[in-house]
Amino acid sequence: MKLFHESEGITRRQFFKGAGMLTVAAVISGVFAKFGFDVFAASDDYITQRVAGLYTLDESMAIRKSHENPEIIQIYKDFLSPGKVECVSPKAHHLLHTKYGKDIPGFIAELKNPHHVPEVESAANEETSTEEPAA
């Protein structure tokens, strides 16, 4: 049986077309990659400067930790946990923690009628009063 094969090698025209296509693909990919790397470098530089800025700002602050802030300590002593600093006191928990889902309608009602004490807080206060009798 006779077998037909393509001849080996390429003509000058074929070489230029093959090399041309590879060059075009390489140039397009190179330009695209250059853009990407430049943007990446710019982004990296921005992040470095932003981090440096935040650290510099932080270092220049007189008070750098919230739990050492005299005003916060005073709020706890006067209002959130009277007479002491108890960061997870029931009142602090009730007032400072975010409400989600089913708690939201009750919270809205409480905001509309601030003098009404919700059941949760009453229960929490009762619990606190049994655990820690007033001095």
């Binding site: 006779k2 037909f4 393509e6 590879l22 397009i28 990407g36 982004s43």
Partner: protein, 219 residues
Amino acid sequence: MSNENGKVLKHGTQTRTMHWIHLLAFIILGLTGVGFYWDIGGIASIFGGEANASLVHRWTGVVFVVGPLLYTLLNFDRFSRFMDTISHFSKDDFAWLKVMGGYLPFIKADDVPPQDKYNAGQKILGWLIIIGCLLIILTGFPMWLWRHSVPAVFLSFCYDVHFWTAMVLILLVAGHFFLAAIHPKSRVEFSSMMLDGYIDAEITAHHNAKWFAELKESS
């Protein structure tokens, strides 16, 4: 049909290997990509969940790039001949396109013009696949490697181009599969690319008359 006897080696081993690798990579990329876009949990499950499917998609993308690139660099002569063939459109090619090679039932084609190693339709498909692959590769890697650096608008543009190019390529490959493996006029091509590389000389003399004339002259 002519009365030529013998066989023609249409696709060499390296070409067939590259075609297989690219095909398998394309199927995996297409499947995982479609799964991501339409959030089809069943597809992600095949690849071990969303996170694994994402990893598979990205690293198969690397195979999708490296496979043809290695082939091109190691078989520059074959690649150059391929580029020469698909970039050469003669009057015969335009005449072939007018009758769509006789493949469409509603276009009457008594005499289909002689074609090169690839007919005019395959030449156009070749260009569309090259351009489509470049687009999908150039938009895919920024989505993976630079997603936290490039502007959101550019990233969104990459996602759009990546998706629509993929859709076009999937349709093109489906059409390519139909013509190469199912259509009665051309399904003889299937084994030449997927199995041993050979095709009957008689068929080549009919479908690729210009190329066969060159083969006869050189042998």
